[in-house]
Subunit: 357 residues, 3 copies
């Protein structure tokens, strides 16, 4: 045995000090190895299908079979140590001088442009509850600041991997129904911030976009993408229905049948496809993406500010009531989905697949 | 003379035994030759323009001029015998084991997919009154069966050649106005079945599509086409206005001006054009069309069923009221057209052109 | 000195006899040189920013600095004489036999087609107040004449350079506010004529199109363009918001983000781009443009007339109320813009830039 009990205790502490939250599958592996190391083989009854967090944990633990506690401890220590070094790599895209009051975002104002950067690169900029709230706050501030336009982009390789599935595993004390209701209400408020944003809102899609980060694009005024970006909304796979007003904006943008391929049948689009279907305004080679887009945005931001706001609202306001209605319907529909057995089984099966080694 | 009176009598009987109804032009030729053979040259007064069935028959007969009864009889016998052999060729696309309660359709359920096949290949799957009614029935059943999706396609070379013009020639006892009213009501009910269909509805366009089989595509959720398909809505040529909700769906799908080229100015689209204009979701080489599309559809049909239905309805329901209204307006408008002199003259001239040898 | 006082007086007279009104920049140069020649260097106080006609004149005069009266007179004479010869070139596109009651248009009826030609080629077919009124009159007449379709096109190299900026410099006695109100009312009435036009309306875009001549295209049923055409709506540059119902039709035609690039961020489209975005129905090589399009239009105009009108209205009428509402909102919004400092400064700076040699 290469590792002592002391190493194991130290690894346990390191887990709590990790700068970034590990992914679901890593957390399940850590849980399973810890239980195997301290309790031995899985010895508790299988939880019900509907209790999917505990079911996932049980599956992970049970999958270790008769692994010895020593081997489990060793695997645990190795897994933790593989997580630690990456924590020291610099998050080098963020300008060192910027002073952020956000945990999950980096927000800067310069050259008449408010730039909102999704900043959980190790989690592929997945949107957890914290980030949902911070994006809303950042949009409120950008609506009232002196800038002419606002830009949303991601730090790292991903634009955004969508809703953080961890959000599903935090069942509130009131139970599943209350959790679903709270999530639906937060989602509705979140999408409304995009509907109501008064200035030109530009997405710089710097890499793959998934789920709600894709559906929201229909509420942006301009969408520029690198040729490395992809667009994927695998809702049906997860037993879920579309949100972000995409059930209305996508058919309007790309026609009903191409919207159906994406929103019902999980079709993933390349940047070029997304552009030819009107979801993306223009695609740039990855190597010149930042340079070309920022040059263009700086020119836009120098146009008469009030005129831009007035013209954007002229275009958008006539469908605002419709968008509110669509947003409400989508969130109600999704709340029902979340409580359906179909959805629970689908999410469950997805998490289990990811948690397999 | 090669043919006896007996041959002529036998040919007359064969006509009544033909498995498939001959086309309009063939029927007019049969009528004319029969009259010429039995009565001689056309000796009745020319019917009024508005009585267009009898006018077409008169034109056909009159066009034979002074052909001798013998020659007419011979031509009649030859024409009938040219129709008979084709009746024995097998309709080989229909799986032999399937048990159909439909005359004009073949309906099967397999792999979570309800497949509705238009099955009048000798008439290029033209929709006669029987087929209108059977399609409605098949959609009602598919809405309630256990399948996840429904697919509409055609047997033979054509997807569908549109409304069977024979429907026009069956004037009801109540006269032209009642006929027009009945037809408009049936059409409205027919289109409503597509508006209301609750599950994902997929068109597999296996060949040329004409008229209402094209306009209805705007109500499908996915449209896959072979590269041999064409899309043609020659309404203005026939003095008619668009239906199937196309006056609303087509401008939405392809923009108003490209919709106008099709719906007003008879532009025929290739499959590639229809795809780039959003009417078709994707085009496949004819040689791999069936294989590729069915592989894809089977994957779709394995997704969570209830989720597919809920998501489709989320997308569609918000325009349902609008579609009902459009359908009503189109049918009213078309009823007026049918009774207009412009339309009567146009249909007349079309039938006459077709009935010329 | 090559030119006498007599030459100068003669030049002054020639200016009044010019067949076509010179452009704004030419008129400002003429004004400045005349003042410099007769008064000397600019000796009046600088007008206020808001009095932008006088400010532009002052700027032009002041820019001549200490140029001597003699040099100014000589430059004036040369400038006038450069304007005169071009007046004698024949406006060769207009058929000599046509009898027009319009000053700014040429209207002909032939082959079931009413052809309305914008006919101020030396001003790039800019729409002055006269032309606004004449186009309305021509549309009213075309609605009621016997033709099946109406076609709008331009004489010369341009299709139309948009609103004549001279319209801005004619402040009515009631002051800026009354002027803005009158302009907004005229614009609203003008756009309404396009919304209400009952027959198929076809644009033949024979060259560059700017401003309102572009935005109105969303109200045409077919738009054919030469490959030399461009489409430009530089509203934000001039502190103005979009009109012609484009805030509604453009997002519908090309998707919201591509509409935003044009209407907010001044993106100029080539004919090919405009076609791929659905604003243009089809693009033709410039060399065969007239021939190919007229052949096609003649075929269209032979279709049943009443059917064309009924079908166009079926497609259009369902959004008529919406279009009225959009038109009203756009005109109100634009009236406010015209009175804003942002707009005044932007127009001012544009006129000044153009008036520099």
């Amino acid at each position: 045995m290469q590792f002592s009990q002391e190493d194991f205790e130290k690894a346990k502490e390191q887990v709590n000090l990790l700068q970034d939250e590990p992914s679901d599958d890593i957390k399940l592996k850590l849980y399973a190895l810890y239980k195997q190391a301290t309790v031995g083989s899985c010895n508790i009854p299988k939880p019900s299908m509907l209790d999917f967090v505990n079911k996932a944990k049980w599956d992970a633990w049970n999958s270790l079979g008769s692994m010895t506690p020593d081997n489990a401890r060793q695997s645990y220590i190795e897994l933790v140590s593989s997580l630690v070094p990456t924590e020291t790599s610099p998050v080098n895209e963020i300008p060192p001088g910027s002073k952020s009051i956000y945990e999950t975002l980096e927000v800067t104002i310069k050259d008449n442009i408010t730039k909102i950067i999704l900043n959980r690169p190790k989690r592929k900029n997945a949107i957890n509850v914290k980030m949902y709230n911070e994006i809303m706050k950042a949009l409120e501030e950008a609506a009232n600041d002196d800038s002419a336009i606002a830009v949303l982009t991601g730090n790292g390789d991903y634009y955004c991997s969508g809703n953080d599935l961890n959000n599903f595993t935090q069942v509130s004390p009131g139970g599943m129904e209350e959790s679903a209701k709270n999530s639906a209400e937060m989602l509705k408020k979140f999408v409304q911030h995009f509907i109501d944003f008064p200035k030109p809102l530009i997405a710089m899609v710097n890499g793959p976009a998934v789920g709600i980060s894709v559906t929201l694009l229909g509420l942006f005024d301009i969408v520029y993408a690198t040729d490395q970006a992809t667009f994927h909304t695998p809702f049906s796979n997860l037993g879920q229905s579309p949100e972000g007003c995409s059930s209305y904006t996508f058919p309007k943008i790309m026609g009903l049948t191409k919207a159906t391929e994406m929103l019902l049948f999980n079709k993933k689009l390349t940047a070029a496809e997304a552009c030819s279907q009107g979801l993306v305004t223009e695609v740039f080679p990855d190597s010149t993406f930042q340079k070309e887009v920022w040059a263009r945005l700086k020119a836009y931001a120098n146009l008469p500010k009030k005129t831009l706001t007035v013209s954007k609202q002229l275009i958008r306001n006539m469908e605002k009531e419709k968008l509110y209605e669509v947003n409400s319907q989508e969130c109600e529909c999704l709340m029902e989905r979340w409580l359906s057995e179909e959805c629970m089984n689908a999410v469950m099966s997805f998490i289990q697949k990811k948690s397999k080694l």
